[in-house]
Amino acid sequence: MRIRRFLRLLPVVPSVLLLLVFLMAPVAWSFYASFTDAALSGKAARDPQWVGADNYVRMFSDDSFPLAAWLTVVFVAASAVLGQNVLGLLIALLMTRSRRAVASWVGTAVVAAWVLPEIVAAFAAYAYFNRDGTLNQVLGAFGSAGPDWLYSFPLVAIVLANTWRGTAFSMLVYRAALADVPRDVTEAALMDGARGWQRLAFITLPLIRSSIATNLMLITLQTLAVFTLIWVMTAGGPANASTTLPVLAYQEAFKFGDIGYGTAVASVLILLGMVFGAVYVRLLREQKS
């Protein structure tokens, strides 16, 4: 009986093996290598030495890590929590009132930026924010000379670009959530003379709060991992002005060849992801029960 029950689970084995070899092993290796002086080439590449917490000590004595951590927080807060989340909700709300044709046209435009391959979206954003790019052409048409966005305001440029790229996800989540809000509840409130913003704040938002929580977790996780967009637009520069944690980990490991320090930065990111992931799983469990 016990053997039979075990045999039934046999088909799960390929998935478990894949997850162990290609997901768990790299995570474990990341934590291990972050305590060594592993390098991309040279003697330390063949025979890495245990260096204890040196890499982590360096992280907090160095200027680049605290700056990158701060930039990551700003990037996530501004482009995901504020940008994508609020804009996505706004678009979904407007769509419930607008003409169907307008809603479907705008929906397509928003989704297009999200479905495009990330490298193509990154190039489009790069051209858009370039000194002679579309944004400055538009500003020029209104008589003001725009700055060199990618050089003078790199963080603003990547925040706007990531908002543009990712809003579609929040929009889709909120469209589905709003479609489930029963009509008679909002109509009853309308009869009671509730104004638009009152209905939104006291009825609609509380009704979709679980979607808001799930959406915030997911877009935070996605935005934490953004690399290509930043790397193509600014490569983390000028100096370190737009180097978020994934860009820093990449630069340390592959540009400066310091795998040990690169994996230390990566390990911090993985831990952050795990914390958010645990909260996300908890949220979903509570919703189910």
């Binding site: 039934r8 689970l9 088909p11 799960v12 390929p14 998935s15 894949l18 997850l19 290609f22 995570v27 290796w29 990341s30 290598a33 769509m95 009132r97 607008s98 003409r99 307008v102 705008v106 435009a109 928003v110 989704v111 297009a112 930026a113 479905v115 495009l116 391959p117 990330e118 490298i119 193509v120 489009a124 051209a127 858009y128 370039n130 002679d132 790019g133 579309t134 944004l135 052409q137 543009w164 996780l221 934490l224 991992a225 953004v226 290509t228 994934p246 980990a249 990449y250 795998i259 994996t263 990566a266 990111l269 993985i270 992801g273 795990m274 992931g277 996300y280 799983v281 979903l284 469990r285």
Partner: protein, 292 residues
């Protein structure tokens, strides 16, 4: 009868009194949405205009002499077809591995009650939240140790693993919606588990499997960072990475060709997305019809 008539009259009255304010609200929403839509399209305009402009730069302008020159220039075996073939191999391989592994894993999770199911599904869900860009540095280290670097097969398996948690989660949900009774009838007739899986469960959830396949395919097709780190020889690189060949050695960028290439490379995922979103609409409609 009377009640519904009353309600209908009430409804028409309320809509006439609220009519004018409602239509101004609608106009306002239309205008606000249109402004947002224009902002979202603006960055893509450059891509479209530059692709037909042989003298394209960063600027968005209507080409002086539009032509298909850029498209003809990039449509060569080494510039376009080889990278696209590599992209296809990577994405299709990733999607096949995903669907196979996910169907196998989902079957016992969906069909047998076990103490193991819930913790496993939540661990899988937790796995979806690991930031993939963060594990690229350790994965590179691992690939060096195992001598997997520049191997198409190893890259496929790695990419498949990054989307596998999502694929298992989706496949299990699709499989849960296939009623157990049909299978039980087949079991009574003496069919084996594998036979019922193949002849009853999979055909009934083929639309769901299509969604999983396309979902994984789109993700793999658009992935830049993973092949950029793991595939070194130009002969194996997918379009996402080979696109850098339009950046000349000395900073001269062939903008028009870059734009044309970007469009040709993006078309497949745009088509697949359109297919899937329409298909999902249909399957929602289908489930609605079943309920009713």
């Amino acid at each position: 009868m009377i009640g519904s008539g009353l309600r209908a009259r009430f409804r028409t009255e309320s809509s006439t009194t609220g009519g004018s304010s409602r239509s101004t609200a609608r106009l306002g929403a239309d205008i606000a949405l249109a402004v947002i839509g224009v902002c979202f399209v603006a960055p893509l305009l450059w891509l479209l205009l530059a692709s037909v402009d042989p003298q394209a730069g960063y600027q968005t302008k209507v080409p002086a002499a539009p032509s298909t020159e850029n498209f003809r220039a990039v449509m060569t075996p080494e510039l376009l077809f080889q990278p696209l073939a590599n992209s296809f191999l990577l994405s299709a391989g990733t999607a096949v591995v995903n669907v196979l592994a996910a169907v196998l894993a989902a079957y016992p999770l969906s069909r047998y009650q076990s103490r193991f199911n819930k913790p496993f599904m939540y661990t899988v869900l937790f796995g979806t939240s690991l930031p993939v860009t963060a594990i690229m540095v350790p994965v590179y280290g691992l690939f060096v140790q195992l001598q997997f670097l520049d191997s198409m097969a190893a890259t496929i398996f790695f990419m498949a693993t990054t989307t596998l948690p999502m694929a298992i989660w989706m496949t299990k949900n699709f499989m849960d919606s296939v009623p157990l009774e049909l299978e039980e009838a087949a079991w009574v007739d003496g069919a084996s588990t594998l036979a019922t899986l193949r002849s009853i469960v999979l055909p009934l959830m083929r639309q769901g499997l299509g969604v999983v396949f396309i979902f994984v395919f789109i993700q793999a097709w658009g992935n830049f960072f993973v092949p950029f780190i793991l595939l070194l020889s130009t002969g194996k690189q997918p379009a996402a990475v080979s696109i850098f060949s339009f950046f000349g050695q000395h900073g001269a960028i062939a903008y028009g060709q870059l734009a044309a290439f970007s469009i040709l490379y993006s078309v497949p995922v745009l088509v697949l997305y359109a297919l899937v979103s329409r298909g999902m609409g249909n399957s929602f409609a289908l489930s609605g019809a079943m309920k009713g």
